[in-house]
Amino acid sequence: MTDNTGIKCKICGDNIATGEETKCETCNESVHVKCLQEKGCPDVVSRPAPIPCAAVTESSFHAFTLSIRNVFLVANNTIVGVTRGVVLNVMMVLAMMMIIASTSTTLVEKGAREMLMDTGLASISVLGAMIAILTGFTLIPNEIENRTIYPIVSKPVRRWQFVLGKFFGAAGINGITTGILSILLMVVYAIKFKEFDSRLVMAVIMLYFMQVVLSSLIIFFSTFMSWIGTIIVSMVVWALGNYSYFIKELTEGDGVTGATKYLIMFVQKALPNFQSMDLRYAIVNEHVVKFSPHDIGLAFVNGSIFLIIALVLASIIFSYREL
């Protein structure tokens, strides 16, 4: 004989004996364990099945456009915020001074031409990367630290949209800086040598792409690292990425065998190959006159893969992050 609890099961209507009672998670009413397992909660069962909407496609498209809008709203705010900062302006002035100063060589006239190209492109590369790092590392951590992220994510802005928005903002800043410096370099070159070298255009496009890939990595690091960690790791990755071919060469050295060889090989592959996006050497030292579209395309594919990997991982990590 089992004790009766005096409570009736919501599903079958019979009294519930002691030990047979459970609470339904959906309606919070007392029910038989057996009834809940076999028949389910009446609230759930009686709930009408979702009616397929005729405008599903339209609403998906609407959601997509809304996502794009959100991404670019975040990007726009990022660009406006960074361009108001001091870091960007100081670095820009420094880069401009370097480009103008590189015209001053008088030792050998032919050397001066190469010197201007090399130093000008190096200024865009180095200071562009510094701008990308020093403006990029604050983009996400600052929003969290200043608590300005709460009103953003509480609105219908998904976290991946926020990450993408920050990335496009960084890419926009890179575009502005590289664009201004490239125009300055080409103007200075044209004034000094009375000609236009189309190879410079290809070189700066590739340098810009390098900075965009670097920005994606900075965004990725900043989703889980402290700001100082982001700066240091980004700088190391950028320096080693510029040294990609030489790292690979290390594996061909006489003293490198076994695990060390595979470790170096893995490090080289795990880092982006920025050296392949740097056409300075080919233009200045090897005097490459024309770049093969196949090679340039391959460099873009290689960089794009890295960019996608960094952004996907950044979105995943940021989606789990407690704010």
């Binding site: 071919y245 030489f246 060469e249 061909e252 893969i305 990997i309 996907v312």
Partner: protein
């Protein structure tokens, strides 16, 4: 929550797949055979070797600066320029050395560095032993340059010009000049040298019959207009260079003939004397052939061309003892000016 995990798991798998796809693409871009935009100096392997052998110095700088060491090389180049204009030639050595070490493809820096040691510092130095030291240092720099850039014209020319003009060692200059004008790969001191005239920076083209060689007089039409003159020089550079290197090679053969003739004055053995005279004749014949290559045949309509004048002079004089004696006297004076002994001590086998 479960669906979020599932989505993210799929994304992680996609990321791994992308990483694996990237692997072979990256291999293409890190091999100089498939990616022509890479340096060819084997700096990575050199770095590792140096670290293990205890001499990390320069390779460590390579490692620290990575792809940006070219920029530091440029700064060193500018700094050496500043020192040059400040009148501090001895202080220029270090920045120039750093410049060529950091960027071994910087041809202008190599040229300037060797020239600075063998000409400027050699001239500035008063001590005879140190003078010789700077000269040897200059030769060493050009040899380093040649080792790093065997497929470039400039180091061959620089080394040849140093032997030709500075040490007046025509025999040593000869193979380097031959390497410049050789249409195919050649052997030079036991090493196979690639087809040097294909160096893209040189824009070297072999002149064909009917081509007009470059005439310096064209630039004198408007001497005040520097830009116009530069345009003429640039437009004719390839033709001019073909003529110029040919002329230099011919000049080397001619001078070599004179020096071989001069050597007979110090030789007492009749058989050896005859061998020297035969070698001198062979050298003059080669000079005539090379003058023809340099422009005489191609520009037969223009009698003002130096190549024709020189060729005719050698043709007339090579069998004339008077001309040979006067040429040798001139050479002797130059040897005295450069502090070289009268006896050249040359081997007749140098002309082959």
């Amino acid at each position: 929550m479960k669906s979020l995990h599932k989505k993210n798991l799929i994304l992680v798998i996609v990321v791994i797949a992308l990483f694996l796809i990237r692997w072979p693409i990256d291999n293409i871009m890190t091999d100089p055979a498939t990616w022509p935009y890479l340096p060819k100096h084997g700096e990575g392997a050199t770095f590792f070797k140096s670290v293990f052998s205890g001499g990390a110095g320069t390779p460590a700088i390579f490692a620290m600066l990575g792809g940006q060491r070219y920029m530091v090389a440029n700064i060193m180049w500018s700094y050496s320029d500043v020192l040059f204009h400040k009148g501090q030639p001895f202080k220029m050595v270090q920045p120039l050395d750093a410049c060529v070490t950091l960027n071994p493809s910087f041809m202008e820096a190599w040229s300037t560095y060797g020239w600075h040691l063998a000409w400027n510092l050699n001239f500035e130095e008063k001590d005879v032993v140190r003078k010789a030291k700077w000269m040897r240092a200059g030769i060493k720099v050009y040899e380093r340059d040649l080792e790093k850039n065997p497929d470039k014209i400039q180091p061959y020319f620089d080394l040849a010009w140093l032997y030709l003009n500075r040490t007046r060692d025509y025999g040593k200059a000869l193979p380097y000049l031959k390497a410049i004008v050789a249409p195919t790969a050649i052997d030079l001191y036991g090493k196979t040298i690639p087809n040097v005239p294909n160096d893209p920076s040189y824009k070297f083209v072999m002149l064909k019959p009917g081509d007009k060689g470059y005439d310096l007089k064209e630039t004198s039409k408007s001497p005040e207009d520097q830009a116009a003159n530069n345009a003429i020089v640039n437009a004719n550079e390839s033709k001019w260079r073909a003529s110029r290197e040919g002329n230099r090679l011919a000049y080397t053969y001619r001078k070599l003939g004179v020096v071989l003739y001069g050597e007979t004055k110090f030789e007492t053995d009749p058989a050896k004397k005859q061998a020297l005279l035969d070698a001198a004749k062979l050298s003059f014949t080669k000079a005539i052939e090379t003058y023809k290559f340099a422009g005489a045949e191609i520009n037969s309509g223009n009698d003002n061309l130096i190549a024709i004048v020189n060729m005719k002079e050698v043709q007339k004089g090579m069998n004339n003892p008077k001309w040979l004696d006067s040429e040798w006297d001139g050479e002797k004076k130059l040897r005295t000016t450069y502090g070289l002994p009268d006896d050249p001590g040359i081997d007749p086998k140098v002309v082959q």
